[in-house]
């Protein structure tokens, strides 16, 4: 099989195939969707399912082949570049090539993106089958995969930015997929606009990088935005490293929904559930983490920036977890959980543990998409019910889904041996070991909250008594085969992905992090401290017990004694209200930013300055004063061309005569 591929396809060609295949899928399905009447579109459903799943599958296969090929060369780094396909710009001062690069980091990301992407595509076949916009859906999902793969495979910042914005675009179109619902349309636009706020920072960061590169005297032909040449001239970033890092991180805040720009992600749950699983849990929202790790050589130059990242990450982790406690919409609980978990990743990045952040990114992608897909099945089974207070007892109707959800919850809560345990503990351990005691405490606290809110959801939805109508409950059943298979595959991944990072303290090899570490200079120079293994194991046991305790508590209360929490909430009514209203953050943004801006634009700029001052006084006043213009204008208004030409000619002759004389 490999031989056959090697005979006909070059390595570069193979790399290009990874993003191009989903693009072809998107173009093909998209064209059919556009040029077929809606009634005829139904005939192409089978084609759309086939092509829509085949392209991600081939793309995933290409990634696998790449992985085995590159790791097959012994004694070299597993990396390859395609070189420029063409030049986006080749000015004497600016060279931007369109090229891709594969190394450990992008391989891990590409494997994860195309793998989870493939499973979500397969799940979608069943989930979206009866939807009118089936073809549009698959076209957009394929397009998303193209942009996401471009983002992770890009070899320079500009191409990365193409993917970066492209995923925002697809996210908007997919959140607003059911565009006839005004609220969903609004949610999509909100996501795009909030992302754009971060992107403005990202752009400024790029401009600063350009300035630093040109000040360093780097040859323009090497491409100022090329990751490799940036790394080569990395030392010249020192004077502006803090500014660059913070600006780029602003982009990551928008994309990865961190404080203060997290507000779009809960609303983004308006999209179809598989979209939430793929885009708003596994891939796009983690792009910010990927970007920071990719550019780690800049971030390590600025301790201030790293500190900021760590604090924002930890704060987001706790804050979002608190919001998750009071949320009653199943999908939004998962959304807050995503925000919180990405906070953990940034916490890892901030303390300098870049590889651990990627480890958690990968395990999170597995367990969070598992949680979303199972949640989607449960919601569909109850004909669209999303409120966990009106669910319950579904375990007896859909056991596979229920136990898969529990598996995902265990991973999220960090209960061994599910994969999330290893990655989350790695983060907490790194924070502790590198001397960030306060950050460790925040992470530790967050772990308890996480365990509680997710088992609250699990308990309310799948255990205890059913709180929905008996008729509805009776109709609830396992989804079709095509939706169960991806769930089971993901559950398997969730169960065993921990192998990738069994810590050294357990006698494991910490495979993924060691492998990725080759890329990250700051980690290469770090020797793991031998003496602290005992401490590591103790901390791990404490965290595990802590999470387990809250998991059981959450499960027990919400499966058995659902009236307890309500009584507690009544006791602390104002606080409960504040949390369930999400601290009024959306309202505050609306009142302090959006509305004043619109008011200023409408009342001052438009009706005030444009209409009254400029137009009313200046223009019309001048017009009235200048009787000549008035006469000319009214004469011209007769619509007779000759008159105007005559005036023009007379004027021209007069002036020309004046000059010559």
């Amino acid at each position: 099989m490999l031989d056959l591929i090697y005979q006909h396809i070059t390595l570069q060609g193979l790399i290009w195939l990874v993003p191009t295949l989903p693009l072809c899928g998107a173009a093909g399905i998209g064209l059919i969707a556009m040029f077929c009447a809606r009634s005829e579109g139904a005939k192409f459903r089978n084609f759309a399912s086939f092509a829509g799943c085949l392209m991600p599958a081939l793309s995933f296969a290409a990634c696998v082949v790449l992985f085995f090929t590159l790791t097959g060369f012994e004694a070299t780094e597993p990396s390859a570049i395609t070189g420029p396909l063409f030049r986006w710009a080749a000015l004497p001062t600016l060279f931007v090539d369109v090229g891709l690069k594969v190394d450990q980091l992008s391989l891990v990301m590409a494997l994860m993106v195309s793998g989870v992407g493939l499973l979500v595509h397969i799940y979608s076949v069943g989930y979206m089958w009866h939807d009118e916009g089936y073809l549009r859906y698959f076209a957009l999902l394929n397009l998303f995969l193209f942009f996401m793969l471009l983002l992770v495979l890009a070899d320079n910042l500009v191409v990365m930015f193409v993917g970066w914005e492209g995923v925002s675009l697809c996210s908007w179109l997919l959140i607003s997929f059911w565009f006839e619902d005004a609220a969903k349309a609004r949610a999509g636009a909100k996501a795009f606009i909030v992302n754009r706020i971060g992107d403005a920072g990202f752009l400024l960061g790029m401009f600063l990088i350009y300035g630093a590169m040109s000040a360093a005297g780097a040859p323009a032909e090497s491409g100022y935005f090329n990751f490799e040449s940036m790394q080569r001239y990395g030392i010249y970033f020192v004077p502006v490293a803090t500014a660059i890092s913070l600006l780029l991180f602003a982009g990551a805040i928008g994309k990865s929904a961190q404080i203060p720009l997290y507000v779009w992600l809960p609303d983004a749950m308006a999209g179809p559930t598989p979209v939430s699983a793929l885009i708003h849990a596994a891939t796009m929202v983690t792009a910010g983490v990927y970007m920071v790790v990719r550019l780690n050589f800049i971030f390590v130059l600025s301790p201030i920036a790293l500190e900021t990242i760590a604090v924002i990450g930890a704060a987001t982790a706790i804050f979002a977890a608190i919001l998750g406690l009071a949320e009653t919409d199943l999908k939004k609980i998962l959304a807050y959980s995503t925000i919180s978990q990405i906070g953990y990743m940034f916490l890892a990045v901030g303390v300098g543990a870049f590889t651990v952040a990627i480890f958690h990114l990968v395990t999170h992608a597995f367990f969070k998409s598992l949680l979303f897909l199972t949640a989607g099945s449960a919601i569909t089974a109850l004909s669209g019910e999303q409120d966990i207070r009106r669910m319950g007892g579904l375990k007896r109707r859909m056991p596979i889904t229920a136990w898969s959800f529990v598996m995902g919850s265990a991973a999220l809560a960090g209960i061994a041996p599910a994969s999330g345990f290893f990655s989350k503990d790695a983060i907490l351990w790194q924070a502790y070991e590198r001397g960030h005691g306060a950050l460790w405490a925040m992470g530790f606290l967050g772990a308890g909250l996480t365990a509680f809110y997710i088992f609250r959801a699990a308990g309310s939805v799948f255990f205890g008594e059913s709180a929905t109508s008996a008729e509805r409950y009776k109709r609830a059943a396992e989804p079709p085969f095509s939706m169960v298979v991806p769930i089971m595959l993901l559950a398997t991944l969730v169960a065993f992905a921990g192998i990738l990072g069994v810590p050294l303290a357990f006698g494991g090899s910490n495979m993924l992090c060691t492998w990725l570490g080759g890329l990250i200079p700051s980690e290469l120079s770090r020797a793991p401290s031998e003496g602290s293994r005992g401490v590591e194991i103790v901390l791990m046991a404490v965290t595990l017990l802590w999470s387990l305790h809250f998991s059981v508590l959450g499960w027990l209360i919400y499966a058995q004694k659902r009236d307890w929490p309500q009584r507690v909430a009544r006791r602390v009514a104002p606080l409960a209200r504040l949390v369930s209203k999400r601290f009024y953050v959306d309202e505050i943004y609306d009142r302090t930013i959006v509305r004043p801006l619109i008011w200023i634009s409408r009342k001052i700029l438009w009706q005030g300055i444009d209409d009254t001052v400029v137009d009313g006084i200046a223009v019309e006043g001048t017009a009235r004063a200048a009787g000549l213009f008035g006469a000319l204008a009214s004469a011209a208004e007769t619509g007779i061309l000759q008159h105007y030409l005559l005036y023009f000619l007379i004027g021209a002759v007069l002036i020309v005569g004046f000059v010559t004389l």
Partner: protein, 526 residues
């Protein structure tokens, strides 16, 4: 027979540029001669003529090597006693603008196929005249000739807005005339004075001539006001929303697409390279105005209730970016600004075309009158979303390339201004996304819209070529940049002549100083 054809071919190849400019005028004369009853013939002929012009402009563009000097020059004696000649020539920048103008002219004629039902003959004559004069503006090297073309644009545009416009169109037309005439008067005085001082009306001669610092400041003011009205720069912009929104579709397309570029082109080709002292003196003012334009234009677009006015205000915002690119005096930013003029012409032209299509169906331009139209007219929705995305600078589409170059270049030379202008990126996304949300999303607001027809073949023919260019320039801007780099570089080195010697403004220069000419600047030498 063969010899005649050969002669024609050789004349055509020697006078390619003039042929491209005057073909529309010739076609206008022929159109006027066609009996006005045979409307179909008139439309077809005008379309054929504009397609032929487009082909000629494409050949001109293909022939231009992008060396930074004027190419395909043609010089004919005209008024020798005044030093006025018929002299045309193009470089990469102007050839690209000509190509875009010809494309939009064709699109305008196609878009008017059904919209214009009254006085069909006159309409097409005027459109063709406008096209001829616009092409002339971009090709003229003799400044008197430039002014003739400049003024000649005004006449047909005035009538197109006034006669075929909607609502309060005659008022809008008059406002348009007053603004631009006021600018033109100053422009004419400036040209005549400079011509008298330099003893010639040839732009190349002017660039060699040493205008004194005092002359430069005054002349620049005269030129700049004329150009600033057209751009338009904030403060002189209020004619634009009225004219754009009341004009018929073809009028809006030519106004936004080509006419605004006359202003930007004027700064690029004439006002800034000629008067470097004034550039150094006034740069802070113009940069401020440019940034205010970016932000105020976007904020104003955000609250508009009329779709065409929204697009008009978005033009102000985008042209603010173009001005920022020019005034940053950086090669990349200038190249981005030139490319930005072309990109803005294509994208905004297309947006106006789509607004016209919506108007044709629903007879309203009010955003509030729509809602859920993505259900009834899905392909129009796709087209509008696509062009909006291009306009909000989605990477991979054309406006991003120019916006990126402008901001990147400006950030290096004028950091604060560029940093503020970046907020425009967010605001642009906001107003377009909200417009899309209000027009195409939500529940279908008007049941009768279900009977509306979606894009038809003619409308596809108008939009698809523009969409193809939007993608081509966006994916590989280098194809266009390689022809406009040298002209942009020349523009920067000419406009920056003072800064090179006295970096911190010109306070140390007395008004009577000669302009300091740095040694080896590649002025177009011929």
């Amino acid at each position: 027979m063969d010899t005649i054809l050969d002669t024609i071919a050789s004349i055509l190849s020697r006078h390619m540029l003039s042929a491209a400019i005057f073909l529309p005028l010739l076609a206008a004369l022929v159109t006027a001669a066609i009996p006005s009853r045979s409307e179909k013939a008139i439309r077809s002929f005008a379309l054929a003529a504009s397609l032929a012009t487009l082909a000629l402009c494409a050949i001109v563009f293909a022939r231009v090597k992008g060396t930074g000097e004027f190419e395909l020059m043609e010089t004919v004696s005209w008024m020798p006693s005044l030093g006025i000649r018929y002299r045309v020539g193009v470089d990469g920048a102007s050839a690209m603008l000509m190509l875009m103008t010809a494309l939009l002219g064709t699109a305008g004629i196609l878009a008017s196929w059904r919209e214009i039902a009254a006085r069909v003959s006159l309409f097409h004559v005027l459109i063709l005249i406008a096209e001829c004069s616009l092409l002339g503006v971009f090709a003229a090297i003799d400044m008197f000739l430039f002014f003739v073309f400049w003024e000649a644009v005004l006449v047909p545009m005035y009538f197109i807005i006034g006669i075929w416009g909607s609502g309060n169109s005659s008022a809008a037309a008059i406002k348009f005339v007053i603004f631009t005439m006021a600018g033109s008067v100053l422009l004419l005085i400036g040209i005549l004075y400079a011509g008298g001082a330099a003893g010639s009306f040839d732009l190349v001669e002017w660039l060699r001539h040493r205008f004194s610092a005092r002359e430069q400041l005054w002349l620049f003011a005269a030129f700049a006001i004329g150009f600033a009205v057209k751009v338009p720069i904030v403060g002189l912009h209020t004619w634009l929303p009225d004219a754009h929104s009341e004009a018929p579709t073809a009028g809006s397309v030519l106004l936004a697409g080509a006419l605004l570029k006359m202003g930007g082109y004027g700064f690029f080709r004439i006002a800034m390279p000629l008067f470097p002292v004034a550039v150094a003196q006034y740069a802070p003012i113009f940069l401020t105005l440019a940034v205010i334009g970016v932000i105020a234009g976007a904020l104003l677009a955000m609250v508009q209730t009329d779709l065409k006015r929204l697009i008009a205000y978005s033009s102000i915002s985008h042209m603010g970016f173009v001005m920022l690119g020019l005034w940053a005096l950086d090669g990349q930013a200038a190249a981005g600004a030139v490319l930005g003029m072309v990109n803005h012409g294509l994208v905004t032209g297309a947006l106006f075309l789509i607004a016209g299509m919506l108007y044709e169906r629903r007879k309203t331009r009010m955003i509030a009158d729509f809602g859920g139209s993505g259900r009834s007219m899905p392909m129009i929705a796709v087209a509008f979303v696509f062009m909006s995305l291009a306009s909000m600078g989605l990477p991979g589409l054309n406006w991003f390339a120019s916006e990126f170059l402008i901001l990147l270049g400006a950030f290096q030379t004028r950091t604060a201004f560029a940093a503020i202008a970046v907020t425009g990126v967010v605001l642009t996304a906001a107003y377009f996304l909200w417009a899309i949300q209000r027009i195409f999303m939500g529940p279908l607001a008007h049941e009768e819209e279900r009977k509306m027809w979606d894009l038809r073949a003619r409308e596809y023919a108008v939009l698809l070529p523009i969409a193809a260019l939007v993608i081509m320039i966006g994916v590989k801007p280098q194809a266009a940049l390689k022809k406009i780099w040298k002209p942009s570089e020349a523009f920067v080195s000419l406009s920056k002549r003072v800064e090179m010697i006295v970096p911190a403004g010109v306070s140390s220069l007395t008004p009577n100083d000669q302009i300091p000419m740095t040694n080896e600047i590649t002025i177009w030498n011929r």
